[in-house]
């Protein structure tokens, strides 16, 4: 079996805030093979964005940040590298697509320049060659009239087109791993599907491993090979996407899936939601962090932290599909 492209080993990211230390990612381990797509799902505050950035190395050890554990890309631990070493990977081996296309592009730079500058810097292409390749990339991500668009400024493009440009920027130097952090959250619903389809087809064509981070289950179902559900900084369940959706074993995953609104629900029925709030990460509850909101919580859940066993972190994993809409 070939070594996985990405190995995350007991990753912990700790921030020192004015109100005290906060562990945003609390012992996450996962692997990703080349060409695979992994979805990371969780509420706001679950730590999924921090996880994405720590995997990339954008968040690393510093005056107020401590990262323990390992993130190995092709065998090399990112956090053990020098800043220059990490920079050499960014754009070339690992690339990232951020949430808001409005602000991810420099308003004073032309669209084409965003792309060509990475090409010239990382690949040493000449101006002309870089420009040609930039236009090709724009075509690849489905932007009509790519030559004209390349000369325009970001504010002249629509939101969906801007996100395509951001994706093109990420793909410019053929990275092996793409981390997409909520790539469609800031876009219109109709555009969302287009972008997600685009990401999916690109990943397939270029045999690129992808991590798709989202708070929206709908985004990851059907588009990812595997999924990891995060809650309060920890992975509570992971597995093949199909399996997790069909038979969720952690009450939280179950509740999440439950809360997806359904077209065939009776009209005026109550929209299922998970009661309560995510825990305060400055002082998380002891034991299972989901226990305060879990319908099936028992005494053991509040005192003993469940370990990740067989890809699920629960003392009493669900064994049958939840009753859907009684």
């Amino acid at each position: 079996m070939t070594a996985p492209l990405l190995e995350v080993d007991d990753l912990r990211t700790r921030f020192l805030t004015p109100r005290g230390p906060m562990v945003a990612v609390d012992g996450v381990s996962l692997t990703l093979a080349a060409g695979e797509t992994l979805g990371i799902v969780g509420e706001s505050g679950s730590g999924k964005s921090v996880l994405g950035r720590t995997i990339m190395g954008l968040i690393t050890n510093g005056p107020t940040t401590t990262v323990t554990g390992a993130v190995r890309v092709d065998g090399a631990d990112i956090h053990q590298l020098t800043p220059q070493g990490r920079r050499a990977l960014w754009g070339t081996k690992i690339a990232m697509v951020f949430q808001d296309p409005m602000t991810s592009l420099n308003p004073t730079k032309r669209v084409g320049t965003h792309l060509s500058e990475s090409l010239r810097f990382h690949r040493g292409l000449s101006r002309g060659a870089a420009r040609t390749r930039a236009v090709e990339l724009l075509k690849l991500v489905g932007i009509p009239e790519p030559e004209r668009r390349a000369g325009q400024y970001p504010h002249e493009l629509s939101g969906g087109m801007r996100q395509r440009v951001v994706i093109a920027m990420a793909l410019a130097c053929d990275p092996k791993l793409l981390i997409a952090d909520e790539p469609t959250t800031a876009l219109d619903v109709t555009v969302q599907k287009q972008i997600l389809d685009l990401l999916q087809s690109l990943a397939e064509r270029l045999q690129m491993a992808t991590i798709l981070i989202s708070h929206d289950l709908g985004t990851v179902s059907g588009r990812t090979d595997r999924v990891a559900v995060m809650y309060a900084g920890r992975v509570v369940e992971s597995g093949e996407t199909r399996d997790v959706f069909a038979q969720p074993r952690h009450p939280y995953s179950g509740a999440l899936i439950e809360s997806i609104p359904r077209l065939d629900a009776a009209s005026h029925s109550l929209l299922p939601a998970i009661v309560g709030q995510p825990p305060n990460m400055l002082n998380p509850p002891s034991g299972c962090r989901f226990a305060p909101r879990c319908a099936f919580a028992q005494d053991r859940c509040r005192t003993e932290t469940p370990a990740l066993v067989d890809d699920v972190a629960c003392h009493f994993p669900l064994t049958q599909a939840l009753e859907v809409h009684a």
Binding site: R87, T108, S118, A172
Partner: protein
């Protein structure tokens, strides 16, 4: 803009007309018969109604004739202004250049290492410099560089037109530095503050994620959007600059516009004061207009949309 200039010219004219003392007496001296003074006053147009005098003066100004000094040797105001202007302009421009050359790297370093030890020292330092008045700074610089070290001269002036560029710069450096100090502090603070805000933008993070080195990001991605406040500041600093130049010209005995105005004011030479202040005001207004224009170039968003 034209209206503003008109009002200013009117104001200057009216103000100077309030000068105490009788210009005729100032020119001829005491002891002459009353008719002589009166003749002189008529010759100078001082007996005409205010509005006529103003119209005459303004009309002359528009054709480049600012009248003649009433103080012996009654030289042409335009000539004196033309000869004094380059001196002041040189000091001001040189001062601005020094300020920019130091402030931009300083601000970039500070912003990049926000809250580091050096950043805090620079912040404290610029704040302190801003609290030192120009003339005091000038005196201190003179104490160190002229009196103690004798590296620079304090008076006289060498014109570039005399062919001696090095000599000119030698005389110009210390005055320009004095002028530069306050501007430098101001520019550094504002640019730093602006850069810090820019560096927090998402596109900077995206650029980092592309693997771009920090120095390059600072120059190509951060500087351009931040240059707005710098340009605004350049415009605002103009007024201050002119004031600083006056003080510096006094301290270093330089034959510039500032000395021209101060001396003329002290001598009651009203045409000189009027002409000089008018020229200064015109230049000021024009430069501010130019700065407004440059905004369009710096931010493509303010250019006419061509979607």
């Amino acid at each position: 803009m034209v209206l503003v200039l008109l009002i200013v010219s009117l104001g200057v004219f009216a103000l100077v007309a309030l000068l105490p003392g009788d210009p005729a007496v100032a020119i001829l001296g005491e002891g002459h018969p009353a008719s002589t003074y009166d003749d002189l006053r008529t010759e100078l147009g001082l007996n005409d109604p205010m509005l006529t005098r103003y119209a005459d003066w303004l009309g002359g100004a528009l054709t480049g004739d600012l009248g003649r000094s009433v103080v012996p040797p009654r030289s042409d105001v335009s000539d004196r202004v033309v000869s004094a202007l380059p001196v002041s302009v040189e000091i001001a421009v040189l001062g601005l250049l020094i300020a920019l050359l130091v402030a931009v790297p300083l601000a970039m370093w500070s912003a990049y290492h926000e809250d580091g030890v050096l950043d805090r020292m620079i912040s404290a330092g610029t704040f302190a410099v801003l609290s030192v008045p120009g003339f005091l700074a000038g005196l201190l610089l003179i104490m160190v560089f002229v009196n103690a070290l004798d590296w620079f001269p304090r008076s006289e002036w060498v014109r570039i037109s005399d062919g001696d560029l090095l000599g000119n710069l030698h005389h110009a450096f210390l005055p320009a530095l004095t002028v530069a100090l306050v501007e430098l502090a101001m520019f550094t603070r504002v640019l730093r503050s602006d850069l810090i805000v820019t560096l927090r933008e998402d596109y900077i993070l995206a650029a980092r994620a592309k693997g771009m080195p920090p120095l390059r990001i600072l120059f190509t991605d951060a500087l351009r959007p931040s240059s707005f406040s710098l340009v605004t500041l350049l415009g605002l600093s103009l007024g201050r600059l002119i004031g600083s130049t006056v003080i510096v010209e006094y301290l270093f005995s330089l034959p510039g516009m500032g000395s021209l105005v101060v001396n003329a004011a002290n001598q009651g030479d009203f045409p000189m004061v009027q002409g000089a202040v008018l020229v200064i005001a015109v230049i000021y207004v024009l430069i501010n207009a130019g700065i407004d224009l440059s905004y369009g170039y710096l931010d493509p968003r303010t250019r006419k949309a061509h979607v």
